[in-house]
């Protein structure tokens, strides 16, 4: 569906995307995970033929974005980072007018709109203005709008940023259904739980480059241990204590507010910490996540 080789995006001297290669195949759900400013959105904008490619080659749906952008976009749905809904029009009118951009006959748009309103749980709000809707509703409407033309490829740029947990879970459920219906999804996010939930395969992006690539499970297996012990001491103690507990784990990481010990047996490591006579203010043994992968690869946390 999407194929990129040596893809570069520059703004003046600033390199937003620095020669990346990737292939997205039909029916898969592909994620770009990384902190703000990693180059995720720039990559998405190139895939959606909105932003011209600076260097390298890019093929989307077998076509060239530079010359066949309109044909590509006709088969693609785009959910931009910031909603671009018409706040003065009603929910239904937003769908109707968007369908007209694709030159769909009114009757067909109306039919599809009814299905999509149902899908987005907005049927009851169909004739309300968009402006007073909640953030989650607006987001669902944006996704419904992107689906109006029955696209082969759905691109979502940070679909749940700024939403409350309930709204996020509802959205994830909707996206999961789309995935099951065979829609190819491309998602950017800086939430590792979102990437773990939705992506079959993902790339970890940092400073315009890919730091790693694989399924969420593969990435965790490759770049992190099975478990992580989190130890919280009083502020200022972390550095000195880290030196003493370092040998208990394969690897350790000192964050401003805690020490992370990477080990395959978290409980055993924690027992040893206690045996040393250390008394952390709080402890937590958990499974490794993509956040740990990211920390390992870049030395930074995802959301900072």
């Amino acid at each position: 569906m999407v194929e990129a080789h040596g893809l570069v995006k520059r703004f003046g001297d600033f390199v937003a995307v620095d020669a990346v290669d990737f292939t997205i195949t039909k029916g898969e759900s592909f994620g770009f995970l990384g902190p703000n400013g990693a180059g995720k959105t720039s990559t998405m904008r190139m895939i959606s033929c909105i932003s011209p490619v600076t260097e390298g080659t890019l093929r989307v749906l077998g076509m060239d974005p530079a010359t066949e952008g309109a044909q590509i976009r006709a088969r693609m749905g785009l959910v931009p980072q910031e909603d671009s809904l018409d706040l003065d029009l009603t929910v239904l009118d937003n769908l109707m007018i968007y369908g007209r951009y694709f030159d769909m006959p009114k009757k067909v748009i109306r039919q599809r709109a009814d299905q999509l309103l149902d899908f987005a749980q907005l049927t009851e709000r169909a004739h309300d203005r968009v402006d007073p809707l909640s953030g989650g509703m607006k987001r669902r409407l944006t996704i419904a709008r992107a689906l109006i033309s029955d696209p082969d490829l759905l691109i979502l740029d940070e679909p749940t940023t700024g939403l409350d947990p309930q709204a996020r879970h509802l959205l994830w459920d909707r996206l999961y259904r789309l995935k099951q219906q065979g829609v190819t999804l491309v998602i950017t996010t800086h939430y590792m739980d979102e990437a773990e939930q939705l992506c079959d395969r993902l790339v970890v992006m940092d400073k315009g480059r890919f730091a790693a690539e694989g399924s969420p499970r593969q990435l965790i297996d490759q770049h992190a241990t099975k478990e992580v012990v989190e130890l919280r001491f009083r502020p200022g103690e972390h550095e000195s204590i880290a030196l003493r507990v370092a040998d208990l784990a394969e690897r350790h990481e000192v964050l401003p507010d805690r020490i992370l010990l990477y080990t395959d047996d978290g409980d055993a490591a924690l027992a040893e910490v206690t045996a040393m006579g250390l008394a952390p203010q709080s402890t937590l043994v958990r499974r490794s996540t993509l956040e740990d992968v990211f920390l390992r690869l870049t030395g930074r946390t995802l959301v900072d």
């Binding site: 703004f11 959606s48 909105i50 932003s51 011209p52 952008g69 309109a70 044909q71 976009r73 006709a74 785009l78 931009p80 910031e82 909603d83 671009s84 809904l85 018409d86 706040l87 003065d88 029009l89 009118d93 109707m96 007018i97 968007y98 007209r100 951009y101 694709f102 030159d103 769909m104 006959p105 067909v108 599809r112 299905q115 999509l116 149902d118 899908f119 749980q121 992107a146 689906l147 033309s149 029955d150 259904r177 789309l178 219906q181 065979g182 829609v183």
Partner: protein, 276 residues
């Protein structure tokens, strides 16, 4: 509980393609038409009310004084002299207005253009669609305006019908270059300045209310350079039936040049702002 009763994506279901596809720019223009559906009543009412008020107060009431003391202006009654000037000036205001806030808002606030660009439209479709809509809206206003003028007995010749395209041209001579400017703006403060220091002075000093020969020489030359002067002169010649051949062709050509140059500028500023 299943919320989705039928799958949204019935692959294999083929929507019969239209035999004639709608041009991309027209799809963009349709959006603005859609928006207009919400406000057309008040908009039409205003378009009707403004000329009635102006022509009654200034044309008829003030005009009767002028006609009594100086037997009209340039050989016709004051109301007949004033009406085509007001027509052109109104078109200037609509042209400028509809390409200030709406253009910047479609980029910054509502992101309407971005929504269009995510669909198959490209930046030139977006531009042309918006300008086409502005022209359509001015046409509606001018049609009403000319009907009111005719009711006041100020259209003296069949040439008056040509005042319709002429007045639309005046509106676009302001609207198109203004759209190019608006696409570069991040705040709306410049618009208010332009309104105060360009639109209002032009309205007052471009021959709308009195012949510019009444002005000091320097200001007369300034007036010649502005598109509104040419717009007023052209509309006036047409509604009074005093067509001056090449002079009027010259007026129209000058206005068309503003539209043309404005359009080239628009292509640059729109692409620069929206294609990054």
């Amino acid at each position: 509980m299943s919320i989705v009763k039928s799958p949204i994506f019935e692959h294999g279901e083929v929507v019969t393609p239209r035999r004639v596809t709608t041009p991309m720019w027209l799809r963009a223009a349709l959006y603005w038409g859609y928006q207009y559906k919400r406000t057309w009543r008040s908009s039409i009412f205003t378009s009707f009310l403004i000329p009635v008020l102006y022509l009654t107060s200034m044309g008829v009431a003030l005009g009767s004084l002028i006609d009594k003391h100086s037997h009209g202006v340039a050989g016709v009654s004051y109301v007949s002299y004033l009406a085509p000037g007001l027509l052109a000036a109104t078109c200037m205001q609509i042209g400028a207005n509809d390409t200030m806030w709406p253009v910047m808002g479609a980029i910054k606030w509502m992101r309407t253009y971005l929504a269009m660009l995510a669909a198959p439209l490209d930046v030139y479709d977006v531009l042309l669609g918006h300008l086409a809509w502005v022209a359509a809206r001015i046409t509606i206003v001018v049609t009403i305006y000319l009907s009111v003028m005719a009711a006041f007995g100020t259209v003296h010749s069949p040439w008056g019908i040509c005042a319709l395209p002429a007045a639309v041209l005046v509106g676009m001579a302001f609207g198109v270059p203004m759209a190019a400017f608006s696409a570069t703006q991040d705040k709306d403060t410049a618009f208010i300045t332009i309104y105060r220091f360009v639109v209002i002075p032009l309205f007052l000093f471009s021959g709308t209310f009195f012949p510019i020969s009444q002005l000091p020489h320097l200001l007369q030359y300034l007036a010649y350079a502005t598109p509104l002067f040419h717009g007023v002169a052209l509309c006036r010649d047409l509604t009074l039936g005093q067509v001056h051949g090449w002079v009027d062709v010259g007026h129209a050509a000058y206005l068309a040049a503003w539209v043309g140059v404005g359009y080239l500028l628009c292509r640059r500023t729109f692409a620069k702002r929206l294609v990054v």
